[in-house]
Symmetry: C2
Subunit: 231 residues, 2 copies
DNA sequence: GTTTGCTTCCATCAAATGATGGAAAACATA
DNA sequence: TATGTTTTCCATCATTTGATGGAAGCAAAC
């Protein structure tokens, strides 16, 4: 309908976009309940009613933040997938870990909000995309077959059987991807807690985190791939 | 001083202990800001003033929860250390992961609260023990030398140099331990989110989590140990 | 039975918080 | 400039929330 209006709202300089950006940061720092609409409004430099005018109630703004993050993260994953496509597994993982770690360190709110959502009890169902991302990564990492469809060879099997769905991803593959992603998120979100523990400057910390992640996470997968190839 | 009074407060049936136990669970589910003193009081079945009578202000209760968790976790780590002592690294890690995973699944509030503290912005300094635990585990896993003291061989080196302190643990070893511990916490705290994603019953989920953790985390350490031994 | 000290609850407060109505301001357009 | 639309702010509400004072309950000591 109102094309100029919608366009204005997508302009990153628009009030609506500015509020969203600040909300993302504050929600990330303090969580949903730890954040007040007044905190966000004050940070933007506006009145609370302006905030409500653009985004409705607090929960709506929070959901908008989630959707925004999901969009951004989804795009980033596509970008990384393009870069690492075709390389051997060890290199794919190393590059992916380096790139995603830099990305999250640049936007720690993303890691924070993702982890908050995993941990805290919540009733909102905004989030159909995390499972989707996880399955995509699993496929990209060769942990699940691409568009594997058992039904082709077993036409009589039950339609409802999850394993027969086109893009079915086995639980173990999903959990392995989650283990990798969460390991990254933890070091970003936990920086304020962990960095004093190890007594490193920010740059050193980032470097050490990358090395640690690559050291801990890669060998298992590379080793298994080798074994599978041999047999 | 008042011995009978203090004794009463340590009795797990005492009101003070009951409040603490419930507080631990609720704080774990909703985080500090997401929890109200009324929620806790209602769950215990008492009035808010009774809660305040025993524990003072909300923050004091929260700090008591942290201390309680740290105590329990510290004891558990000592127990595990005893069991795995002397075994080869791969087995040590496998048993430690199995045992700690069971422990955290039985008391998910612990994982929740640990992660909440890592993520959320906080100013409290209740927590001198997490670094200590981490260093202990690092030593137990052979990632840091036990009571290594350079000053013995270099009497003139600067006293303040961290590397010369008796129980100094290098950053990389600390981060490696954190990576392992956090990987466990994530799957426990994230159960509500991850389990529907992988569509498993609780028991299956726990089993799959343990397998995934052992698969992802152990090979890197075992492999490095082998390389170090060879050289 | 009375006193004493600890525990619990009811009533209530003050501050914080999410939210809204309506006036003023800013902006666009004819 | 006049007119209509959009945006912003001020004043204000109703709830929620952390917190307290004081009365009532209760048990052991005297």
């Amino acid at each position: 309908m109102a094309t100029p209006l919608e366009k204005a709202h997508k302009d990153p300089e628009s009030m609506k976009a500015r509020i969203l950006a600040v909300a993302c940061r504050i929600f990330g720092e303090y969580g949903f309940h730890g954040t007040t609409t007044r905190m966000i409004a004050q940070e933007v430099g506006i009145d609370i009613s302006t905030l409500h005018y653009h985004w409705g109630e607090k929960k709506d703004l929070y959901e908008a933040v989630i959707l925004d993050i999901n969009k951004d993260l989804g795009q980033k994953l596509i970008d990384v997938e393009k870069i690492i496509h075709g390389l051997p597994l060890g290199e794919r993982m190393a590059i992916a870990i380096d790139t995603m770690t830099d990305y999250f360190f640049a936007r720690p709110e993303i890691s924070n909000i993702m982890l908050f959502r995993y941990i805290a009890k919540t009733r909102d169902n905004v989030d159909l995309r995390v499972p989707e991302f996880t399955a995509d990564i699993a496929r990209s990492m060769g942990l699940a077959k691409k568009s594997f469809n058992l039904a082709d060879s077993m036409p009589d099997s039950r339609v409802n059987s999850a394993a027969n769905l086109p893009n079915y991803t086995p639980p173990r593959a999903m959990l392995e991807v989650l283990a990798v992603m969460n390991a990254i998120h933890n070091f970003i979100s936990g920086e304020n807690f962990f960095r004093p523990m190890v007594n490193l400057e920010r740059e050193e910390y980032i470097k050490a985190v990358k090395e640690t992640l690559k050291f801990v996470l890669i060998p298992a997968f590379v080793q298994r791939e080798g074994e599978t190839r041999q047999s």
